[in-house]
């Protein structure tokens, strides 16, 4: 029973919260540019409108093109199930998954997205796919090393186990631990790379020289486009959730169990997400988009941060958990 409640809560929060993040970021950006900007809930309106519109489908395309949005959307949601928004709710018998399968599920979505980009026969789609392929290849080692290190610290590769460990170890060590700080920075960089934000990609542009994510979904319209956008937003939220719940755990501060505890926990979670959102927005405001071939530098940065985190942890030598 808790299992089903967990799934419902998890999915609902993701569905409801994800478009808000984009709204907040856009609002902050507009604010700094002395504009009013779109309403904070604009993305909800967009999605709702898109869903009701008819779709235009390219004559050159095949079933891959039509299947891709569903797969992208649902892989995002499935991945979301592996990243609990609050530990308080996690059932003892969780949906089974660790960080490897987490990465793999997202890869499934990305695979179809890139394939769909090639399916229409459009130049832009291919270009977007090609660039996405490069960026994802560069990001993946960092993600794995980062999560692997976190897993080593926690003694498990399972994401919820890792989160539980982090908060069980409590207040003291987490923020003071250099390994954790480095991991935090690495994961933050990864979020920027994975969610197609400036300085990697500009989600608001449609200039072919700079597009990555938008180029892949250029041909989409109607409900397909809605699913694609929604999936991307959810993916962004997943990564933020991962960051805040893994490296800034909060549940240990809440003693109370039961419904009250869960609600408080969720509230703190919202706050943390918004804080990170603001941080991302600030980063986006203060940087310019990188040249495509400067992206490896950023990827290398995040990899080095993860690697250093591993080394830090490794040199400090603490907290091995006997696995077998």
């Amino acid at each position: 029973m808790t299992y089903i409640i967990y799934i419902i809560v998890q999915i609902m929060i993701m569905l409801l919260l994800a478009p808000l993040i984009n709204g907040i970021i856009k609002k902050i950006k507009a604010f700094t540019q002395k504009r009013t900007g779109p309403p904070i809930l604009q993305m909800y309106y967009d999605l709702f409108k898109l869903i009701r519109k008819n779709s235009v489908v390219s004559e050159a395309s095949s079933w891959i093109y039509k299947a891709a949005p569903y797969i992208v959307f649902s892989t995002s949601l499935t991945a979301a199930l592996l990243v609990p928004v609050t530990i308080k709710l996690v059932p003892s018998f969780n949906i089974s998954g660790d960080f490897v399968i987490f990465v793999s599920i997202l890869a499934l979505g990305r695979f179809f997205m890139m394939a769909a980009g090639l399916d229409t026969g459009s130049t832009f789609g291919g270009m977007g796919s090609s660039r996405e392929a490069m960026i994802s290849s560069l990001a993946e080692p960092s993600i794995l090393v980062c999560l692997f290190t976190a897993g080593l610290i926690a003694g498990s590769t399972s994401l919820d186990q890792m989160m539980m460990f982090m908060q069980a170890k409590g207040q003291g060590i987490i923020l003071m631990n250099p390994a954790i700080i480095l991991l935090f920075l690495a994961l933050l960089t990864i979020i920027i790379m994975e969610t197609a934000r400036i300085p990697i990609d500009d989600p608001s542009t449609h200039l072919e020289l700079t597009m990555v994510h938008e180029a892949m979904i250029l041909e989409y319209s109607g409900r397909h486009l809605a699913l694609m956008e929604y999936g991307a937003a959810i993916k962004q939220l997943i990564f933020i959730t991962l960051l805040v719940n893994l490296l800034l755990p909060h549940d240990q501060f809440i003693g109370a169990a039961g419904l009250g505890g869960i609600l408080i926990s969720l509230l703190i979670y919202f706050l943390k997400v918004i804080v990170i959102t603001v941080v991302i927005a600030l980063i986006e405001i203060n940087t310019v988009k990188l040249r495509l071939f400067s992206i490896p530098n950023l990827a290398a940065l995040s990899f080095i941060l993860s690697f250093l985190a591993f080394l830090q942890y490794f040199l400090l030598g603490g907290g091995y958990v006997q696995l077998i």
Binding site: F48, I51, R52, N54, S55, V56, V57, S58, E59, A60, S61, W63, I64, Y70, F73, S74, T78, S96, G97, D98, V100, I101, V103, I105, A107, L108, F111, M114, L118, D119, G121, S122, T123, G126, A133, S136, S137, E140, P141, S142, L144, V145, F148, G151, L152, G155, S156, T157, Q161, E219, L227, L292, F293, P296, F310, F314, V321, Q322, L323, I324
Partner: protein, 680 residues
């Protein structure tokens, strides 16, 4: 019991292949009959083999010993022993061979009247037979003989389409490389013989001193590494695999290069025993390099089968990585991690056999339908051959280690074993292992990119040439064969425990440890989570959730958005008249960002030439990119060229043609020998 004993099945299988190959040669005038008969025989024989090997694994811990004809020469013994390890590799062989033989029924039909089908099947069956012998021989000499026989037969299969000069060159390169590798193997075997006085692979290696074991290990590594296509010994692989007919490529890539994995396990783990940690470390390094560079090179190719061949290098890298982790763990006395990594490695071997076999068959189908292997000339095939496309898509997902296919399971287990190893590990190695994790990530992502490119460029979009336009769906038998493979891939992906338990049982005899206690959930209810203590996954659940979410989202869209109405329209072409295939992204263009980032590996050279018109508005622009493997360019070519030059030069300075020089040689020899005689 008599006939029911399963060693009889293996003998029967060997006999069937032997007879079958001769029948095939006899029927070379009747191509169609030969095709059906040969494939029938090999399907039956491999089915027997599959049955026998499963029986062996399930049946018990004791081994089957067989002996073939007795050789009269004193040091040659043709003995076979089938233990769990042999059986699991035989199972891999038989699974793939059944499918490949089914596939061949359709595929070879295009050879009727053009080529000697009888000869083909003679070689094909002898090749399979030689691989069976490799997996079962219990004597190093017999192993060596069949190993060379396998190389020889596969050489003839590589040059089977010998009218193309690149095939001939590929064949020569292949046989030369593999023979040089085998020379090292021979040295290893000989050194170990000189201490133990026995060629028995199941014997004891206690008599060999530690220093000699190190040398032997290096020799085995060089020998098997060449066959495995491990970088930097891989250069033959991307030439030889594409050159063979596709069904043979499937066997070569699916099984033949796995004989190296078998050899490493059998010779090093089984016979030598693991004493030095650096053995494993060396293998890990080779694995990492092969995994990353293999797929990076795959990304640059435009020939379907070369992409697949390089991808094989990558997967061999992952397998070797697992094996290296296992070796290291065992050297440190960590049996359980060793066993886990070994299982990971063998499981990935199985997986790779299945999906790479399937991909090569898919490449064969594409070649069959379009007559070209150049993906720049393909496109839009998904509409012409939907079933093949779907199956190739499945294999592509599997090779990119994406859930819910089997490739993911292998990678997951490898990752788990690294995790367990690091958590236990000695300090220095951990840094290497974390690089292994990064390499797995990079290789996985690049593989996904590479296979999106492979699938996207050749099956999606608009047809790029006449070849693609005239394509039709391939004969049913070919799709059935690939379908079976895809099904097995999916089932292993969803119910991995069946395979894992089988491998665990099979390799029990080797280390005497089992990880089964560490896994929760019974054998029959294997869709339960695959749990390794607290790290559990269940691809079944993930798949179920995925499907449910897709269905729910369809429902939700229906409710919220009303009926789905679509309008077919041309792709947006920026307002030009008509989009045509030449405006599509090309495979070369697709890989450009990666080519530029990793330019140190590829050394790309670009050439742009314009023709006609003015400088600003030329009529045609030709843009070619050449990328060459750094290993070929900077290691093999210089060595080879230098050797040739040196050889030519010394040849003419020694063998000058002048009789005075020749007499001088004799004169000097006499003097030198006299000096030796009197002064030494």
């Amino acid at each position: 019991m008599g006939i029911l004993q399963f060693d009889n099945y293996i003998q029967l299988c060997i006999l069937l292949f032997f007879i079958g190959s001769i029948i095939a040669l006899g029927l070379n005038k009747k191509a169609r009959l030969c095709n059906y008969v040969s494939n029938g025989i090999s399907i039956i024989a491999t089915a027997l083999l599959a049955f026998a090997s499963i029986m062996q694994i399930m049946g018990g811990k004791d081994v089957i010993k067989l002996s073939l004809l007795k050789s009269t020469l004193p040091f040659i013994r043709l003995e076979m022993t089938i233990d769990g390890l042999s059986a699991i590799f035989l199972l891999i062989l038989s699974l793939l061979t059944i499918c490949v033989s089914t596939y061949s029924i359709g595929y070879i039909s295009s050879y009727y009247g053009k080529r000697n089908v009888g000869l083909f099947y003679f070689l094909y069956m002898s090749f399979i037979l030689s691989m069976i012998f490799v997996f079962t021989s219990s004597n190093a000499v017999f192993f060596y003989i069949v190993w060379e026989g396998m190389a020889l037969l596969s050489y003839f299969l590589v040059i089977y389409e010998s009218e193309r000069s690149e095939n001939r060159q590929a064949g020569t390169l292949y046989i030369v490389m593999t023979h040089i590798g085998t020379a090292f193997l021979l040295i290893g075997i000989m050194i170990s013989y000189s201490y133990t006085n026995s060629f028995d692979l199941f014997g004891s290696s206690d008599a060999i001193p530690a220093g000699a074991k190190n040398v032997i290990f290096i020799m085995y590594l060089l020998g098997f590494g060449t066959k495995a296509g491990a970088i930097p010994l891989h250069i033959w692989l991307p030439y030889a695999h594409p050159a063979a007919p596709s069904n043979v490529s499937a066997l070569m890539s699916g099984i033949m290069i796995k004989t190296a994995v078998y050899g490493l396990i059998r010779f090093v783990m089984g016979f030598l025993g693991l004493q030095e940690a650096w053995w494993g470390i060396l293998i890990i390094i080779i694995g990492i390099v092969s995994a990353v560079l293999g797929v990076a090179y795959a990304m640059m190719e435009t020939d379907i089968k070369r992409i697949l061949a390089y991808s094989s290098v990558e997967n061999m890298g992952i397998i070797l990585l697992g094996l290296g982790v296992s070796f290291t763990a065992l050297a440190y006395g960590n049996l359980l991690v060793g066993q886990l990594a070994l299982i990971a490695s063998i499981l990935h071997t199985l997986n790779h056999a299945l999906f790479k076999g399937g991909l090569f068959l898919g490449a064969g189908s594409v070649h069959y339908a379009t007559g070209t292997k150049d993906i720049e000339k393909l496109g839009g095939l998904i509409k012409k051959m939907p079933i093949s496309a779907l199956l190739v898509l499945c294999f592509s997902l599997a090779v990119s280690s994406i859930v819910p296919f089997n490739g993911f399971i292998g990678e997951w287990l490898t990752m788990q074993s690294i995790f367990a190893s690091v958590a236990h590990g000695k300090h220095g190695i951990n840094i290497l292992l974390i690089l292994g994790v990064a390499a797995l990530g990079l290789a996985g992502a690049l593989a996904a990119a590479c296979f999106v490119r492979f699938f996207g460029i050749s099956f999606l979009g608009i047809e790029r040439s006449e070849h693609a336009l005239k394509a039709e769906e391939v004969p049913r038998s070919m799709n059935i064969a690939m379908g079976i493979l895809a099904l097995i891939c999916l089932s292993i992906g969803i119910f991995p425990l069946v395979a894992i338990k089988l491998i665990d049982r099979a390799s029990y005899g080797l280390l005497g440890s089992s990880i089964l206690d560490q896994i929760q959930g019974g054998f029959l209810v294997s869709w339960y989570s695959m749990e390794f203590t607290s790290n559990r996954i269940s691809s079944f659940e993930i798949l179920a959730v995925l499907v449910v979410i897709i269905l729910l989202s369809l429902l939700a869209l229906r409710v919220l958005g009303g009926k789905y109405i679509e309008r077919r329209y041309g792709t947006w072409d920026c307002g030009f008249e008509a989009l045509n295939s030449r405006m599509q992204y090309t495979a070369t263009g697709f890989s450009k960002p990666i080519r530029i980032i990793f330019r140190i590996l590829f050394r790309p050279s670009r050439k742009r030439s314009t023709k006609g018109g003015t400088a600003y508005y030329p009529e045609t622009i030709e843009y070619t990119v050449d990328s060459e493997s750094v290993f070929e360019k900077y290691i093999y070519k210089p060595v080879f060229v230098r050797a040739r030059i040196w050889s030519r030069r010394t040849k003419f300075t020694v063998q000058t043609g002048n009789i005075h020089n020749y007499l001088t040689y004799i004169f000097i020899t006499v003097i030198v020998l006299m000096a030796y005689n009197s002064f030494i």
